[in-house]
């Protein structure tokens, strides 16, 4: 597994989690991330699309092309490999999150 899970893996985790629920296209995903996180996560369209394309290349996502109003649109869906990757990312994230919570104000005061 790659080492970049702490911050670099966050967009990948969110994309896989959203796509595990429903098939979606790029704009939909960007809008969903923005609305669910109340604007806290705004990775930018320059970053999201290359990640989606890499996940397709890694066979973590499957792609379905459709023509909508005369323009091509790519719909993404999580594959079995993508589900495995999602579980790995979620495990790692839980560990990171549990580790960070140990540094909460109260815990530090209690230890001191």
């Amino acid at each position: 597994m790659k080492k970049e899970l702490f911050i670099d893996g966050v967009p990948e985790l969110l994309l896989l989690r959203l796509l595990a629920q429903n098939e979606m296209y790029g704009y939909e995903l960007v809008a969903k991330i923005h609305s669910i996180s109340d604007g806290a996560f705004s990775f930018g369209e320059g970053c999201i699309y290359p990640i989606l394309h890499r996940l397709v290349g890694d066979r973590c996502l499957s792609i379905r092309k459709e023509t909508v109003s005369g323009r091509p649109r790519r719909y993404y869906r999580v594959t079995a490999k993508g589900n495995k990757r999602l579980s790995q990312l979620e495990d790692s994230w839980s560990k990171v999150s549990a580790g960070i919570s140990k540094f909460g104000k109260d815990s530090i005061h209690a230890t001191a």
Partner: protein, 231 residues
């Protein structure tokens, strides 16, 4: 800025970053769909089409910045992009070894069959083989440079290196001027046979080529920075 202008600028920036072919096409299609979807949303909300296009382009950001972050993301996907210093070092060694392998392999093939070839062909083949490591280095690095944060500067460094070192080795050939059975051919590895003119020529060509590409890649950014300073 309208959609067409936005996509044209994005396409130009993609080429500048060396992102071409199916990768560039996929990104442009995604950004186009993104823009159109945003426009449709704004129009459905009661805004007129023209100002919707303007706002949608504005929301997506400057095409050059969009491409910059896409290029950074793409570079991060490769091992080279994540380890620029290590990969430049390893690539230099690989290119050098590959060049030497081609030079030695090709030269020994020539030694094995040189009596069947004319003097002129032989001389041309030897010149070609002795220049091959440099050509191989240049082509290999040109392909990889776009993925490396060092970019064309890295290419320049490695090709300069491959231009220097193979200058100390190569094949010599003396035509059989005194009749059949005369003349000789072999492999040299010496400081004395180093040809400064050959090296200087290669060095100038490499420097010129890579400086041009480096300038070509960064000129947009520089103009933009100057524009921001002026405004």
């Amino acid at each position: 800025m309208q959609q067409r202008e936005f996509l044209a600028r994005a396409r130009k920036a993609l080429i500048k970053h060396g992102i071409i072919g199916s990768r560039a096409k996929a990104l442009l299609e995604e950004w186009n769909d993104h823009l159109q979807s945003e426009v449709e949303k704004l129009v459905a909300g009661g805004q007129d089409r023209e100002s919707s296009y303007h706002d949608a382009c504005k929301a997506l950001g400057e095409p050059e910045s969009l491409v910059d972050s896409a290029a950074k993301q793409l570079a991060m996907e490769s091992w080279q992009g994540r380890n620029p210093v290590l990969s430049s070092g390893i690539l230099s060694v690989v290119v050098f070894l590959l060049g030497i392998l081609v030079m030695v392999g090709g030269g020994f093939l020539l030694i094995a069959g040189w009596k069947n070839l004319s003097t002129e062909i032989m001389q041309s083949l030897i010149t070609f083989i002795n220049t091959l490591p440099w050509i191989v280095g240049l082509c290999w690095l040109a392909y990889h440079a776009r993925k490396m944060p060092l970019g064309w500067k890295g290419l320049w460094f490695v090709t300069a290196f491959t231009a220097i070192v193979p200058g100390f080795m190569g094949f010599f050939f003396e035509p059989p001027t005194n009749g059949p059975g005369t003349g000789s051919m072999g492999f040299f590895l010496t400081w004395i046979s180093y040809k400064p003119f050959d090296f200087i020529l290669k060095f100038i060509i490499t420097l010129g080529l890579t400086s041009f590409f480096w300038w070509f890649q960064t000129r947009g950014k520089k103009l933009e920075d100057e524009g921001q300073t002026l405004s």
